[in-house]
C-alpha cells in the first residue's frame, strides 16, 4: 500500500507529464484513415506532432483549427467548420477526431454544438465521421486524454447489434506500443477469436513503408470495426484507464467486459490465459505453455540480479503499474516513484510513496538507486546521478525502435526482465581489496585505516 502524495510546489521542473489533448490525438491515430485535429492554436498541434515524429520516426498526420487571438475571443465555430471542410477536401479521411485544448476550453467553445450546426449546413459531409472530445490542457495528463478519446469514440460510433460469434473487443491503453498490440492480437487469434483492437497503433504507427503517400493515418481500427464493437461477445480493457470506455460500451450496447490492469508479468499473463480459455472454450495453445515456462525460467535466472535493487521509476499510472509490480515481484524495491495523474491503482502499488510530480522530484529521491526507468527526458538526470537508465514510455526520442519495444505477454515480460537483469550485470561492481575494510571510523583515529582517509 502506497502513500499517494500530490507534490506541493508552484513550479514544475523537468516535466514527466504531457498534455491530455495529444494523448487524445494519439488515440485517434490508432484509427484507419483518420485525421487527428486539435482545436487550438497552431503551436498546440506543432508540439504534439514533433513529439510523435521524434518518438515513432514516422510521418504523423495531425491538423489544427489554427485559432488566433481574435477567433478565440469570438468563438471557434468558423475555424472548426473551415478545418473540417479543408481536411475533407484535401485528405479525404473517413473520420476526423477533434480534441480541444486549454485555449479553447478557457474560452468555453461548445464544439459538440458547433458540430450539429455544421452537419446541418453541410449535407455533403454525411459520410464523414467527426468525433469531438473535451481535453483541456490544464486537467489530467496524456493517458487521461487517451482514455477520454476512446470512451467518446465508442459512445458516438459503436452500434448495438446481434452478437457476432467469436468477435471480441480489446480496448488498448496508452501504455501499449504497436509491438505490444501485435503480440496481443496474436494471442487472441491463437484462441480462435476475432479481436477488434481499439485504438490499433500497430496498423498505423508500426513503421511500415506503404506503396503510396497518404496524408491521413494508414492502418488502424476501421470505422466499420469501430461501429460493430457493439456486436462483440465481450470486451477486454487493458489498463485501468480503459475502464470508462468499456463501461460506456456496456451501457450502450450491452457488451460485458473485464479490465486487465496490465499484461506485463506472470500473474497478469496467467489471468489473460484463464480468461481467454474460459471465453473461447479452448485450452491455451502449446506455444503459450512453452512461453510461460520460458518466463518462469527467466524469472529464476534474473532474480539474482534484481533482488534487493533500488528502482527509481517515473511513468504514467498504467505503465507504472505493470513494470512496478513486475520489479517488486522480482525482489526489487520501488524506492522512488513518480507519476503524472491520479489513478485508483496508485495506492495499491508495492511502494512506500507514490508522488504525482515531475522528474525533479524523482531526481531528488533517486540519489542512491540502482536503476532509473522513465521516458527519454530522464537522460539528463541519469547522467547527473550516474546511474543506469532504461528508457520506457513516450516520448523515446533518442533511441530507435520505440514502437517495437514489447513488454506485454509472457514473451514481452521475459525480454523486459532480461533487459533489466542485463543492465545490472553490466553494472556489476568488481570486488576491490578494500571493499570489506571498516571505513566507518575517521581515518585519523586508526593508524591502519589510512586508505579510508584517502576516500
Amino acid at each position: 500500500m502506497a502513500n499517494v502524495t500530490h507534490v506541493k510546489k508552484s513550479c514544475a521542473v523537468n516535466p514527466l507529464k504531457m498534455s491530455a489533448p495529444i494523448g487524445a490525438a494519439l488515440a485517434f491515430m490508432g484509427l484507419d484513415n483518420c485525421m487527428p485535429t486539435l482545436h487550438g492554436s497552431q503551436g498546440c498541434t506543432a508540439f504534439g506532432l514533433v513529439l510523435f515524429v521524434r518518438h515513432f520516426k514516422e510521418a504523423v498526420p495531425m491538423q489544427t483549427t489554427a485559432m488566433n487571438e481574435a477567433t478565440t475571443i469570438m468563438g471557434g465555430m468558423d475555424n472548426v467548420e473551415q478545418a473540417i471542410l479543408n481536411i475533407h477536401k484535401r485528405a479525404q479521411p473517413s473520420i476526423i477526431g477533434i480534441a480541444s485544448t486549454g485555449l479553447t476550453e478557457t474560452k468555453g467553445d461548445d464544439v459538440d454544438g458547433y458540430l450539429e450546426i455544421i452537419r446541418r449546413k453541410h449535407p455533403e459531409l454525411a459520410e464523414l465521421a467527426v468525433v469531438y472530445v473535451s481535453t483541456p490542457d490544464y486537467v489530467g495528463a496524456f493517458q487521461d486524454g487517451w482514455a477520454k478519446a476512446v470512451a467518446k469514440l465508442v459512445k458516438e460510433l459503436a452500434e448495438p447489434g446481434p452478437k457476432i460469434a467469436g468477435q471480441v473487443n480489446v480496448l488498448a491503453g496508452s501504455q501499449l506500443t504497436p509491438g505490444d498490440i501485435e503480440e496481443i492480437r496474436e494471442i487472441f487469434e491463437a484462441f480462435g477469436m476475432k479481436p477488434i483492437i481499439l485504438p490499433d497503433l500497430s496498423g498505423s504507427m508500426d513503421g511500415h513503408v506503404p506503396d503510396n503517400f497518404s496524408p491521413t493515418t494508414l492502418g488502424g481500427t476501421t470505422l466499420t470495426e469501430l461501429r460493430i464493437t457493439g456486436a462483440s461477445e465481450f470486451t477486454v480493457a487493458i489498463g485501468e484507464h480503459m475502464r470508462d470506455a468499456a463501461q460506456v460500451l456496456k451501457n450502450k450496447c450491452g457488451v460485458p467486459f473485464e479490465v486487465l490492469e496490465t499484461l506485463t508479468g506472470l500473474d497478469a499473463c496467467d489471468r489473460l490465459m484463464s480468461l481467454l480459455t474460459e471465453k473461447s472454450g479452448r485450452p491455451a495453445p502449446n506455444k503459450y505453455r512453452r512461453q510461460r515456462s520460458q518466463l518462469v525460467d527467466a524469472m529464476l535466472d534474473a532474480h539474482f540480479y534484481t533482488g534487493g535493487k533500488k528502482i527509481a521509476i517515473g511513468a504514467e499510472p498504467d505503465l507504472l503499474w505493470g513494470v512496478g509490480n513486475l520489479l517488486a515481484g522480482m525482489g526489487a524495491e520501488l524506492a522512488a516513484v513518480v507519476t503524472t495523474t491520479a489513478s485508483p491503482l496508485l495506492e495499491k502499488l508495492p511502494a512506500q510513496e507514490v508522488l504525482i510530480g515531475d522528474l525533479e522530484d524523482l531526481e531528488n529521491r533517486a540519489q542512491d538507486c540502482d536503476l532509473l526507468i522513465t521516458h527519454s527526458h530522464g537522460r539528463q538526470m541519469a547522467k547527473r546521478l550516474d546511474i543506469p537508465f532504461l528508457r520506457l514510455g513516450l516520448p523515446m526520442f533518442d533511441r530507435l525502435g520505440a514502437a517495437h519495444q514489447v513488454t506485454a505477454g509472457y514473451r514481452g515480460t521475459r525480454d523486459l526482465l532480461f533487459g533489466i537483469a542485463n543492465i545490472f550485470m553490466a553494472e556489476a561492481h568488481e570486488p576491490l581489496p578494500d571493499d570489506w575494510r571498516n571505513t566507518d571510523s575517521e581515518g585519523a583515529s586508526c593508524g591502519s585505516c589510512t586508505s579510508a582517509a584517502a576516500h
Partner: protein
C-alpha cells in the same frame, strides 16, 4: 491598443525588413501574418518562436507560464549547444491547473520564480507568456517587475503567447524582450576594438564553434552571440560591441537595427553557410571593425585566412566532384538561406531541381534566379504529396529539408538530409560545408538503397530482375572501397 498589440504592430512595421521594403504602404500596415487556413496549417506558434530564439542563452532559467502542453510536450528538444551551464536544458513550467484558470495564475508564477531562485540561483529568469494565461489576463510584466524588485535579480517577461502569430513573429517578440529588458543593463569588464556581436545565430549542433576558431585567429572577440551559447551577462553587455553580424535576417532584424539606432553599432547581414558567403562574412566583419577604428592590418590577416581556408576546402572537395556531378537536389528549407546553400552545392557540381522560397525576400528570389536561371523551380508551398511524387518519380536524387518532411522522402525510399534546427551535424563555415557534402555523399551512396528498393520475393515475377536507380548504378561503378574518404 494594449502593450502586446502595439509591440506586434511595431515588429510588423520593421523598416529594415527586405519583405517590408518591397511592400506598398497599405500592405505594410496589414502586417506579415497570413491568416492561417484551419485544417491546412503547419508550423509552430509565437511562443515556440520566442523559446527557440532565447533558449540558447545557457545560464538562465526559462520558465513557461501556462498549462503543461507548452513546456511538457516540447522541452529539451532543440539542438543549441552550450560550452558551460546546462540550466537552459532544464524544463521549468507553472503547469497551471483548473483553479489557476479560474482564479488567475499570477501568484503561482511569482512563487515559481521564488522556488527557482532558491533552488537554482540563476543570473536571470525569463518568463514566457502562453495563450491560456494571456487569455485569463495574467499580467506577467507586473509579476516580473514585482519579482525583480523583491529578489533583486532580473526576471524578464517574454510576451509572445502562441495565438498572436507564427514562429517568426515569436522570434521578433523575443528580440523585443531582450531590447527592452536585457541589452545595455550591464557593462563588460573590458572592451577591445575587435568586439563584435553575432545576432541570430543559435549554435545549433555547435555551429558557432565551427566559426569561432577563425574569428579567434583573426583576433576578433565575440562580445555576445545572440543567442547561441550565450551567457546572460554577455547579452546584457552586448551594447558595447563595435560591430555586428546579423545571421538569420528574418528572425532578429529588429535587434540589429535597434542596436544600430541606440548604440551606433553598424551591422551587416551575412551567412556562415556556403564558401563564398562565409568568406564574405569574415571580410565584412573585418571591414566594419576597421571602419570603427580597429588597426587596418586586420583586413590582411583576414584575407590570408580566407585564402588558406578556401584552398583547403577545394582540396577536400576533389574526391567528391566526380561522384556528385549532376546529382539532382530538392531543397526545402526556411531556416537556412536557400540561395547561399544553392550556390555552395552548385559549386560542387550538383544540380538544384527545386528550392523553397516560402520565407525568402524578393531580393533572395532574384539571387536564386541568377544562380539557377530564369526557369528556376521555386516552390512557394509544396504539399507532402507533391514532394513524395517528385521523389518517387526520380525528378530528384536527394531531398534536403527539415525533420517534418523527413519521412516523405524516406517512405519514397529516397535519400534525405536534415538541414533544419534538429539536425545533428554542423554545417557552418568551411569545415561545415565539407561536412554537408560528405553527408550528402554518404546518404546517396549507401548500399542500403539498392536493397530496400528491391521488390519483395512475392512481388517479383519469376525471372525478372529489378531495375536499379541512378545512385545504385554509380555506387557500383566506383571502386570496391566505395567511399573516397572512408579511410
Amino acid at each position: 491598443m494594449d502593450a502586446l498589440s502595439k509591440k506586434v504592430q511595431e515588429v510588423f512595421d520593421e523598416p529594415a525588413c527586405g519583405k517590408n521594403q518591397a511592400k506598398s504602404e497599405k500592405d505594410r500596415k496589414k502586417g506579415c501574418t497570413k491568416q492561417l487556413a484551419p485544417g491546412a496549417a503547419a508550423g509552430g506558434c509565437a511562443f515556440d518562436g520566442a523559446k527557440i530564439a532565447l533558449q540558447p542563452i545557457t545560464d538562465v532559467a526559462h520558465l513557461v507560464h501556462g498549462p503543461i502542453a507548452c513546456e511538457g510536450n516540447s522541452w529539451d528538444n532543440r539542438g543549441a549547444k552550450s560550452s558551460g551551464s546546462r540550466l537552459y536544458r532544464t524544463g521549468f513550467t507553472t503547469d497551471i491547473n483548473e483553479l489557476d484558470v479560474v482564479y488567475g495564475g499570477e501568484k503561482r508564477l511569482f512563487k515559481s520564480v521564488k522556488e527557482i531562485i532558491e533552488k537554482y540561483d540563476p543570473p536571470a529568469i525569463f518568463v514566457y507568456q502562453t495563450c491560456v494565461t494571456a487569455l485569463i489576463g495574467d499580467d506577467i510584466e507586473a509579476v516580473c517587475k514585482a519579482a525583480t524588485a523583491k529578489f533583486g535579480k532580473p526576471v524578464i517577461p517574454v510576451n509572445a503567447p502562441g495565438f498572436v502569430g507564427n514562429k517568426n513573429l515569436g522570434n521578433k517578440l523575443a528580440g523585443e524582450a531582450l531590447l527592452d529588458y536585457v541589452i545595455g543593463t550591464e557593462e563588460p569588464e573590458y572592451t577591445t576594438p575587435y568586439d563584435i556581436n553575432i545576432i541570430g545565430e543559435y549554435n545549433l549542433a555547435g555551429e558557432l564553434w565551427q566559426v569561432k576558431p577563425l574569428l579567434d585567429e583573426m583576433g576578433v572577440r565575440i562580445l555576445s552571440c545572440i543567442s547561441g551559447d550565450a551567457k546572460y551577462k554577455e547579452v546584457a553587455c552586448s551594447h558595447r560591441a563595435r560591430a555586428a553580424m546579423m545571421v538569420c535576417s528574418k528572425a532578429m532584424i529588429n535587434i540589429a537595427r535597434k542596436m544600430e539606432e541606440r548604440y551606433s553599432i553598424p551591422y551587416f547581414e551575412g551567412s556562415f553557410y556556403g564558401i563564398s558567403d562565409m568568406s564574405d562574412s569574415l571580410r565584412n566583419i573585418a571591414r566594419l571593425l576597421v571602419e570603427k577604428g580597429a588597426p587596418a592590418d586586420l583586413m590582411d590577416r583576414t584575407e590570408a585566412i580566407i585564402k588558406r581556408e578556401e584552398a583547403a576546402f577545394w582540396q577536400a572537395m576533389e574526391p567528391y566532384k566526380e561522384r556528385l556531378k549532376g546529382v539532382k537536389v530538392l531543397l526545402i528549407t526556411g531556416g537556412v538561406k536557400s540561395w547561399s546553400v544553392v550556390s555552395a552545392l552548385q559549386e560542387v557540381g550538383m544540380e538544384i531541381v527545386g528550392t523553397s522560397v516560402k520565407k525568402s525576400t524578393l531580393e533572395d528570389k532574384q539571387k536564386i534566379k541568377e544562380l539557377m536561371g530564369e526557369d528556376a523551380h521555386m516552390i512557394d508551398d509544396m504539399t507532402p504529396r507533391e514532394m513524395y511524387k517528385m521523389l518517387k518519380d526520380a525528378q530528384a536524387d536527394i531531398m534536403l529539408s527539415g525533420g517534418r518532411s523527413q519521412f516523405v522522402a524516406l517512405k519514397a525510399k529516397m535519400p534525405w538530409l536534415d538541414i533544419n534546427q534538429e539536425r545533428h551535424h554542423a554545417y557552418a563555415g568551411y569545415s561545415g560545408m565539407v561536412t554537408l557534402v560528405r553527408e550528402i555523399d554518404k546518404a546517396l551512396y549507401n548500399p542500403m538503397w539498392e536493397q530496400v528498393r528491391k521488390p519483395a520475393p512475392w512481388d517479383t515475377p519469376v525471372g525478372a530482375a529489378s531495375t536499379p536507380r541512378l545512385t545504385a548504378d554509380r555506387a557500383l561503378e566506383g571502386t570496391p572501397t566505395a567511399h573516397p574518404l572512408a579511410a
